[in-house]
């Protein structure tokens, strides 16, 4: 190991700084997103989370790892994809940290930096969802499910047949999608918005105080 690649106290390797910057840039959009710095590691988030038992890194640990300067482990974790957005952690956090919204920011960072396993089904679902909206402006569950299983393995759809039949007999499934009238307007909005989804500018990367571990907590 060369001296340059060694981790020195208070200084992050270049890759870490890059990931941190990208993540912190996204937290800026969240109202009071900067409160992530005020975590007291009490564990209320993990204790409240109905799904923490299934996570590899629990919400409290995610914040601890962020402080310790290990963004890569966070972004590669399964946890951020398991969150069901029930907002219990965010409601109960005594430091008023927007935990659920922070998890969203982490998902977006992981996707931008391509630091996640393509097999994660949540990604396939999100992608299919986005396609549906771009095409029709509204969502049709049957179409979404079909697109999702086309990406993740069509044979799994067999499990859904009993439910599907029941829904059809109860007149609760429509196979054709409703398309909104102003679909072209919506597409214009989406296209324009996508130009704003830019990664942080290069100049910002030089030095940011938040990137320096515990110094960020005054």
């Amino acid at each position: 190991m060369t001296v340059e690649s060694e981790i020195l106290p208070g200084v992050h390797p270049e890759k870490e700084v890059l990931l941190r910057n990208s993540f912190l840039y996204r937290t800026k959009v969240i109202p009071q997103g900067e409160r992530i710095k005020l975590c007291i590691q009490c564990g209320t988030c993990t204790g409240s989370c109905p799904l923490s038992y299934a996570m590899d890194i629990t919400p409290r640990k995610l914040i601890a790892l962020f402080r310790a300067g290990d963004m890569e482990s966070i972004l590669r974790s399964k946890s951020i994809w398991i969150c069901a957005s029930c907002y219990t952690c965010q409601t109960r956090c005594p430091s008023l940290i927007k935990v659920t919204d922070i998890l969203y920011a982490l998902k977006r960072t992981a996707m931008e930096k391509k630091l996640f396993n393509k097999n994660i089904p949540t990604y396939a679902l999100s992608y299919s969802f986005m396609k549906c909206i771009y095409k029709y402006g509204r969502l049709n569950e049957a179409q979404l499910i079909l697109r999702f299983y086309l990406r993740t393995g069509l044979w799994k759809i067999i499990n859904l047949i009993p439910l599907g039949i029941k829904l059809i007999t109860k007149r609760r499934i429509k196979l054709t999608s409703e398309k909104i009238k102003a679909i072209n307007d919506l597409r214009k909005i989406i296209k324009k918005a996508e130009t704003f989804e830019l990664p942080p500018e290069k100049e910002e990367l030089a030095y940011i105080p938040e990137a320096v571990g515990y110094k960020a907590v005054s």
């Binding site: 977006r108 089904p121 986005m130 969502l139 029941k166 909005i189």
Partner: protein, 295 residues
């Protein structure tokens, strides 16, 4: 009172019984719902996890449409309710994002100034119309119906809305006042797993089972819910849960507007009750008794 009604995608497809019952209840209480013309999907929690500005712009188009006609939005879907409220909050708290989103809306000849409020039907029933008025319109008091009131996560969270974030009481107050009984139901805000039912099913089935178990143990005749996704998860996967956990649940999962609709004397066909998977015998007998009474 007039509101811009935003049904959301699932109310036009899988949960059209929620749509029907919601319109019928508001109609019976002389409150006009004008469907927002050419609304688009709010983007749900999923869009937000991929692209932020795009998700906000997609949601904001609906807000802009409502602002143009000058009504507040009322949406029965918990997810739409959270997302539209969230978009409102993000836009108001961050000028930079607000400007960006308005630039996007401009492409479609729209603009948004941040004046629209997003409301839930439960909020309007309890706080705008008022329980007293509802009581006056009740034709069939729900005597003896034991309800487990299930709010789901996203209607009172994350921001403080119209009810408490840990122990909301709107539905209990509403149904108790029209004769029903609420059962002890500590899981009223517990997550059902939401979209995880498609992605990480075993975790989601576990959560759903706990909710059903809690309602059954406390002797509920039915679960009243406010969220289309919760309804689908609790109802559509009961068979699967019974198979996996060797249980015998057959709990009717009704929308709160369906139960209220029966009390208001609305025809069950109009409420889409036959579209639910499990019949609520108690509710049906109340309805039949009143029919015989009329004859």
């Amino acid at each position: 009172m007039k509101y811009a009604y935003y049904p959301g995608c699932s109310l036009h497809t899988v949960n059209n019984n929620y749509d029907k019952s919601c319109r019928a209840v508001f109609n019976a209480l002389n409150c006009e719902l004008v469907e927002l013309e050419d609304w688009n999907c709010c983007g749900a929690t999923i869009y937000m996890s991929i692209k932020e500005i795009t998700a906000l712009a997609v949601a904001a188009r609906n807000l802009a449409l409502a602002e143009r006609i000058g009504y507040d939005i009322v949406t029965p879907c918990s997810s739409c309710y959270t997302i539209l409220n969230k978009a409102n909050k993000y836009l108001k708290s961050n000028n930079e994002v607000f400007d960006k989103v308005n630039l996007c809306l401009k492409e479609a000849g729209l603009s948004y100034n941040g004046t629209v409020r997003v409301r839930h039907p439960l909020d309007i029933l309890v706080n705008d119309i008022g329980i007293e008025i509802i009581k006056l319109n009740v034709k069939i008091p729900l005597i003896g119906l034991r309800i487990a009131n299930y709010y789901g996560c996203q209607i009172v969270r994350p921001e403080k809305g119209f009810d408490d974030r840990e122990n909301p009481m709107s539905m209990e107050n509403l149904f108790e006042n029209i004769g029903a009984e609420d059962v002890y139901f500590p899981y009223k805000l517990r997550c059902c797993g939401g979209m995880l039912m498609t992605t990480y099913q075993s975790s989601s089935l576990n959560l759903t089972k706990e909710i059903l178990e809690c309602a059954q143990e406390n002797g509920a005749d039915c679960i009243a819910t406010t969220c289309p996704l919760c309804q689908m998860n609790l109802e559509g996967y009961q068979n699967k849960i019974n198979r996996i956990y060797s249980t015998t649940y057959k709990i009717p999962i009704l929308f709160f507007t369906q139960i209220l609709g029966v009390a208001l004397g609305i025809d069950v066909g109009e409420l889409g009750l036959e579209q639910n998977f499990y019949k609520c015998d108690k509710l049906e007998s109340l309805y039949k008794v009143s029919l015989n009474h009329q004859k």
